[in-house]
């Protein structure tokens, strides 16, 4: 019988080294499409019978990416470019890239000259979302993506297949949301790192398979007695809460993560794909329904309210703002987030997220001081 630890280990292996998962899919004859974060219509890849695989960079000090990416490129896209240029993504048939920020605009050019063996399928989300025209536009844009994916898959992607994949994705989101709820009753078992691993691993697996594992984890957690957590609790917000060492610092200081608004984690899983005309319209509508995200244009962003509500709902004593260095869309929202926390009387902590440096000493001091303070 499998136990929780072996389930967590299975996901951890994949989250720490996605290449293992990639190779497995390639050996089994599957085509794999790289999916740059976030809000890439993976469902279309899934419907084509191919594997969508998230590209989230990794902790590395870039050696070759600097040729095309200036030092003030966010480390996430810098390391993706580095890995691409070094051939670490070899075997991927194409990469889907959303033009969500200026760095993406720039990296799309860098990728084309630096990573010639992995064709780029760029696309763009409409930001003026209140007009009906924006849904028509995005459905057409996804249609263009679909055509390019069909060429790689070698067959047509049917509406029925997309509808089926939408079902798989909605079920997966629901499972992740349930996991996050159940995890809060077992903060002794679900450490910040494990919570992160469960969600991160989903980006490198076929979603149905991931749902199956997460469902098992939920069942096993539910069988355990509810744990009364005596330590502190926080909410994370930002692009990622990485690396694992950073999350371990929370654990070391007896701080549990009880909710998040991380682009790599819950932000992706909180908006279902609605039924709305054809399947492409449904996928487009999901984008129009998204809120409280730095990559989405919203007049008077609801993100400040969202993180404060999360903190209150789960009894968090603090909010950790995981600010990815040089991620301008996040940087613009930083004052708004600090203010929202301040107005709600919730202490906030700003942490610098940077994939290109291993030195966590400053974060260690900050997290320890925060734990001593809240």
């Amino acid at each position: 019988m499998v136990n929780l630890d072996s389930l967590f280990n299975e996901l951890d292996t994949i989250a720490v080294n996605p290449r293992i998962a990639l190779d497995k899919y390639l050996v089994s004859g599957k085509k794999v499409i790289g999916c740059f974060p976030i809000y890439t219509p993976e469902e279309l890849v899934h419907a084509a019978g191919m594997i969508p695989m998230g590209l989230w960079g990794g902790q590395t000090t870039p050696s070759v990416a600097g040729q095309y990416a200036p030092i003030f490129t966010c480390s996430l896209l810098r390391s993706c470019l580095e890995f691409g240029m070094l051939g670490k993504y070899q075997g991927i048939s194409a990469a889907l890239m959303p033009m969500l920020c200026d760095t993406y605009r720039g990296v799309s050019g860098a990728w084309r000259v630096g990573v010639k063996d992995i064709p780029l399928i760029a696309f763009i989300h409409p930001q003026n979302r209140k007009l009906a025209a924006s849904r028509e536009f995005l459905a057409a844009e996804y249609g263009a993506v679909k055509t390019k994916l069909e060429a790689i898959a070698g067959h047509v992607i049917s509406d029925a297949a997309i509808k089926n994949s939408i079902g798989v994705y909605n079920a997966h989101q629901a499972a992740i949301r349930e996991f996050c709820e159940v995890a809060n009753d077992h903060l002794d078992v679900v450490t910040p790192k494990i919570r992160h691993t469960v969600m991160k691993s989903s980006h490198f697996m076929e979603k149905g398979a991931h749902t199956a594992i997460v469902s098992q984890i939920i069942d096993k957690l539910k069988q355990l007695p509810i744990h009364q957590w005596k330590g502190k609790k926080v909410i994370l917000t930002g692009i990622t809460g990485e690396p694992d060492d950073l999350l371990d610092l929370f654990a070391e200081n007896k701080i549990a993560v009880v909710g998040d608004d991380l682009a790599q984690e819950s932000r992706q899983f909180r908006t279902d794909i609605p039924k709305c005309g054809g399947p492409l319209e449904s996928l487009a509508q999901q984008w129009l329904d998204r809120t409280a995200c730095s990559t989405v244009h919203e007049v008077n962003s609801s993100r400040g309210k969202l993180i404060v509500d999360l903190a209150r709902k789960y009894g968090a004593q603090g909010i950790a703002i995981c600010l990815m260095k040089f991620c301008d869309v996040e940087e613009y929202e930083y004052p708004m987030l600090v203010k929202a926390a301040e107005d709600a009387g919730i202490p906030s902590l700003s942490l610098e997220i940077d994939q290109s440096t291993m030195n966590n000493e400053q974060s260690r001091t900050k997290i320890q001081s925060f734990a001593e303070m809240i």
């Binding site: 940077d354 001091t365 001081s369």
Partner: protein, 260 residues
Amino acid sequence: MLTMGLDIGSTACKCIILEDGKNILGRAVVSSGAGTVGAQKVYDEALAMHSLKREDLGRLMVTGYGRFSFETADNQKSELSCHAKGIAFLMPTVRTIIDIGGQDAKALRLNAKGMLDSFVMNDKCAAGTGKFLEVMAGRLNLQTEELGEWDAKATEEASISSTCTVFAESEVISKLSMNVNLADLVAGIHRSVAKRVAVLAYRNGIVKDVAMSGGVALNKGVVRALGEELKTEILVHADCQLAGALGAALFAWEELCKQA
């Protein structure tokens, strides 16, 4: 009952021996930092000064960058909490503390009870830190301890515009070659540090009184420039450099009381 606070910083180690959580019995400073013999040296010196042994200490608390690697310690605490604690003890009216350390700068805000309420730290960058001052002093062939005196002799502050340490260094070199007065250059360097740190302080919010802690507070030039940038008087206690160690000794005392 005696407690000891040991602050193992990146460029200096500081030690305080405290009696009954009230009276400072002994002080010691050694100007070599974490990862060196500095910690052991300052610890030995402080004990020797009062002919004490380890057993005489009720509790030993360490703080600073080297806080995880001092084996005989009873506990460790972050330097932010310790600086807040130490300054609140030395100057109870203080609500905002600016601490410029060897490799980072921090702004701390205390609540009315003297407890740490919020803090911000610099980015991973040398600008606005003790390291920046050290590099610049080296370029001018001065000791960092001399910078404060030179600042007082300035008549027309030289402008150092670059934030980047490497660029600022080249500005200093080019100004030297243009025969800009040394004192004016020093004042300009202090302005550059003050501007950078003022941003941090403003970001955290300024509530009076405002104090500086840490070794850089001994540099009157930085205190002057920072006061001008923040448009407020900056209090500096004679024991400013020892505030972290003192805070650690106070925390040690509190823990001791709790145990009892």
